[in-house]
């Protein structure tokens, strides 16, 4: 009963001083809130377990390294870490989509036809043609930088050497090229999506 009365801030400071049991109280006190919070985002027990574990590994490391800045807000801080790790999890997953293995195996979940069908390839040609026409509208110096960067895949360093301007100027021209292209696209209501 007495343990419940100790404030989080005090437990954190005891833990930093080396009292391992303080961590156990902190985890015990907040585990359900943090776990439910993670579960409410990911809806998967195993992932929740992983994120929960990573959250506290981060908490432990930060506290032990003395990087924790006590502002009397232990739980919101842990929640923020958990939130960031949930975002990391979704980012990682969108980069590496996994196929659902739960039911029977379907070969189509791993095979897909990446080539464009006739309609999509026509749209793609149209879009590319439109982009070229928009580029033609740009002032010469901006057009040059944009072509070198996008179509010839040159770095800004190479572009600056080739055109004899500083890197900053090349970057600025690229920026204005994009701004101007957006303007032209907006003014003419050009749709560049397929």
């Amino acid at each position: 009963m007495k343990k419940e009365l100790i404030q989080d801030a005090e437990l954190v400071s005891n833990y930093i001083k080396g009292d391992e049991s303080a961590l156990s109280i902190l985890i015990g006190r907040h585990k359900q809130k943090i776990y439910s919070f993670i579960y409410s985002k990911v809806y998967d027990r195993d992932i929740t377990e992983d994120v929960f574990q990573d959250t506290f590994i981060k908490v432990i490391r930060t506290l032990k390294l003395g990087k924790y800045n006590e502002e009397g807000k232990f739980l919101p801080w842990v929640m923020r870490i958990a939130h960031n790790l949930v975002i990391d999890h979704f980012r990682k997953n969108s980069r590496m989509p996994k196929f659902d293995n739960a039911g029977e195996f379907s070969i189509f979940s791993v095979l897909s036809d990446s080539s464009l069908n006739a309609e999509k390839s026509m749209i793609k040609d149209q879009v590319e043609c439109d982009v070229r026409r928009v580029i033609e509208e740009l002032p010469e110096d901006q057009k040059k930088v944009l072509m070198m960067r996008i179509y010839q895949d040159m770095s800004f360093k190479e572009i600056s050497e080739r055109t004899g301007v500083s890197i900053n100027t090349a970057l600025g021209r690229m920026r204005y090229a994009l701004i101007n292209m957006r303007k032209v696209i907006e003014q003419n209501n050009i749709v560049l999506t397929n």
Partner: protein, 47 residues
């Protein structure tokens, strides 16, 4: 009757981490030691 559009949240009685996870964390915490050396901090896992 008013229609409820929100979906029911999954009722999971025990939304708690597994005991193994908690005990792993406590052990990790015990094993992790930070060594200070000339303003540098080194982490060491002493198992």
């Amino acid at each position: 009757m008013a229609k409820i559009y929100s979906s029911a949240s999954p009722k999971n009685g025990n939304l708690k981490p597994k005991d193994e996870t908690v005990s792993f964390l406590l052990n990790y915490s015990k094993a992790l030691s930070v060594i200070n050396y000339n303003k540098l901090k080194f982490e060491a896992l002493l198992n």
